[in-house]
Symmetry: C2
Subunit: 402 residues, 2 copies
């Protein structure tokens, strides 16, 4: 007897017909003798519609009531899917956030699941399919909480952990994780196996197949994941611990993001505490700094600091830098037409020449590198935005991913 | 300090702008120093949309899950109204069916409220407005239940009773109860005061301002009601115990309904148990028989029985009558183009000649009466549907309601 969590995202349950289709997938798994817990998102567009409603009411909509509002979306999907399964003669039952309950900690709109009462559902699983709303829980005070956008993935992983299931399958509208964006890079290939680390680097870089916090939790508890399509029967991408993967290639994928901006401060005094002075006020204003590069300046007494932030934060960041008297520099420049291109691969560490190969490839395309940042399994560069696709295609080819 | 229940129906909260308008009404009441509990319906159209979804999934959608599905509608309104009040600097909080909790008994889709925990809300009312979803509760097993269509009125009355409030105001899209349908009878007038009995007769006869079960509960516990408009400042209709009303007119209103059908069985054996044999199988099939008239037949050994049912039940009823061997008659005839016209008034009993006046009025218009039924405060006739408006207008005039 295998116990499985099947999670269906918003697009997978976006219409009644799709919910009926999901019911067929669940029935097939149930009829194979598996114990099934289903985690569902709100129907595609529903959460955005409710958020839009809340914004018309108030730009500072009360956080407690926002969670009451948004959590209704998954409740609707739970009931419709339970009804669709019962129509197919499967014993099914929805277990809402307070009925289970799903206990959370933390702030409204950004809680995390800490526990679930598994007994009721485990008893039910003996002869039925349990359906649980993603993205939500209740606080110890008995208020409804939500766990952040995309939180249904996190619910699925928490269910997998707390119910000690054998697998956690994330059904979505793509059939797996690709070596690059398949919409833009037609030669991109589906990856059959990937490590948690690589998945994290790819998903934080714009390959939005799964939300990062969910992958992090899965990595922490070593819960094997599988991302697969609701709409095809193709095998998906399995996400494992690194040691379970046999790397034949140094680079697993090429990712890019186009929502970054670059700021350079030149003539910054080269003494201890300077960087802290710059980034402390940004941190306080919740501006997320991504890459940071520091170089000795030409006059050798000062230094130049370049860093990247989300493009949306650009004006706010410049304002803070200009108004804060603790920060001294000669000149400030910025570029909001940049893109970040990253190659990701757990095999990179053991393969010499990956860095050189990447720079050579970009140079061949006459693409100028504005900044570089490296980690153990990732190498990112900032380039002019207009060169994005050229760069991604070139790297995809030279690392033999086509 | 006055404690009030304000109930807002689906049309009153049908858009975000209307919810903001409702927040203004609630704020005004709160600012006047009143303790306010608000009961809300789902946004207009929402419940029908969810029912439509359920019907696509299954024509026998599971009843437990249907309640999970439908109850989401009022949850959304609760959160949006709480947010709108907080935006207007009013301390407000939603209390959902399980948070309060609202305890119910009975079947899914048709439960009744038996209790609420009042302590939490009463504490909150000291400095805030409590918002409660109409139409729903939970069973003692912890399942979500709903209390039937239009059940938000019943929730409001239950809140008034259990919280011992001073008044119960039903805000809706009309500004009160009228002496007849104001859309069809332009001379119809708003009634300022009406008794529970009259209101019940009128609402069961198509004046759908309030749902009958809610009025019945209010009558049982002598809870004064007020029906008023969300969209105008006009005073509404107060609904009291009969003894609090000074009747200057014998007839309070003229109601009509056009969803009836009439069936006549002729040549039925005139012996004990015949009527029971006819109506028992109808009752078993949940067919609601309204008026019943029995007359000696022309041959004096048999009898003729005429009765009315909902037009939707006509085919089913005829099938049952024809197939049931316990029922013997000579001939069966039916007419589904009939209307029921009723005059209602608590003052009728003490005013002689009301019956005669009604029959004379209809005769003057050459309207044939197909059946007659009377109660203490109501006199109903069945006529051909095409004469409906003529009859209502005539009766409205002769009973001085114009």
């Amino acid at each position: 007897m295998v116990k499985k969590v099947l999670k269906f995202g918003g697009t997978s349950v976006g219409t009644i017909e799709r919910i009926q289709h999901v019911a067929k997938i669940v029935k097939k798994e149930h009829d194979s003798g598996n114990q099934i817990i289903v985690v569902v998102s709100a129907m595609a567009g529903k959460t955005n519609e409710l958020i839009k409603f809340s914004k018309v009411v108030s730009l500072n909509f009360d956080e407690r009531e926002l969670d009451v509002l948004l959590s209704s979306g998954e409740q609707v999907t739970c009931a419709l899917l339970a009804g669709a399964l019962i129509e197919q003669k499967i014993n099914a039952k929805s277990f809402l956030n307070w009925q289970l309950p799903i206990l959370t900690e933390g702030e409204h709109n950004n809680s995390r699941i800490v526990n679930m009462n598994t007994e009721k559902v485990n008893n039910f699983l003996k002869n039925g399919v349990a359906i649980i709303p993603g993205f939500q829980g209740i606080s110890k005070n008995g208020d409804i909480t939500t766990i952040g956008r995309g939180g249904s993935d996190a619910t699925a992983v928490a269910v997998a952990k707390l119910f000690n299931t054998d697998s956690c399958e994330i059904y979505t509208d793509v059939d797996g994780v690709y070596s690059s964006d398949p919409n833009k890079i037609p030669v991109a290939k589906k990856i059959n196996k990937i490590s948690y680390d690589e998945m994290l680097e790819l998903s934080s870089l714009g390959a939005k197949v799964m939300q990062s916090p969910a992958v992090q939790t899965a990595m922490m508890y070593n819960i094997p994941l599988e991302v697969k399509s609701t709409f095809t029967n193709r095998t998906g991408t399995k996400i494992f611990d690194q040691q379970n993967i046999d790397y034949s290639k140094s680079v697993t994928g090429v990712a890019y993001s186009k929502d970054d901006a670059k700021i350079t401060l030149t003539g910054v005094a080269d003494k201890p505490g300077v960087a802290a002075n710059i980034f402390e006020p940004l941190n306080k204003s919740q501006i997320n700094v991504d890459m940071v590069i520091q170089n000795i300046s030409s006059d050798e007494k000062t230094t130049d600091i370049t860093f990247t932030i989300k493009r949306d934060d650009l004006l706010k960041t410049i304002k803070i830098l200009k108004e804060n008297s603790n920060i001294s520099y000669k000149n400030i420049s910025h570029n909001d037409k940049v893109a970040k291109i990253s190659i990701v691969g757990a095999g990179m560490v053991s393969t010499p020449g990956v860095t050189y190969k990447m720079f050579r490839g970009l140079a061949d395309e006459k693409i100028n590198i504005l900044a570089i940042s490296t980690s153990e399994i990732k190498l990112s560069v900032i380039i002019e935005e207009e060169n994005t696709l050229n760069a991604v295609k070139k790297l995809h080819t030279i690392f033999e991913l086509d």
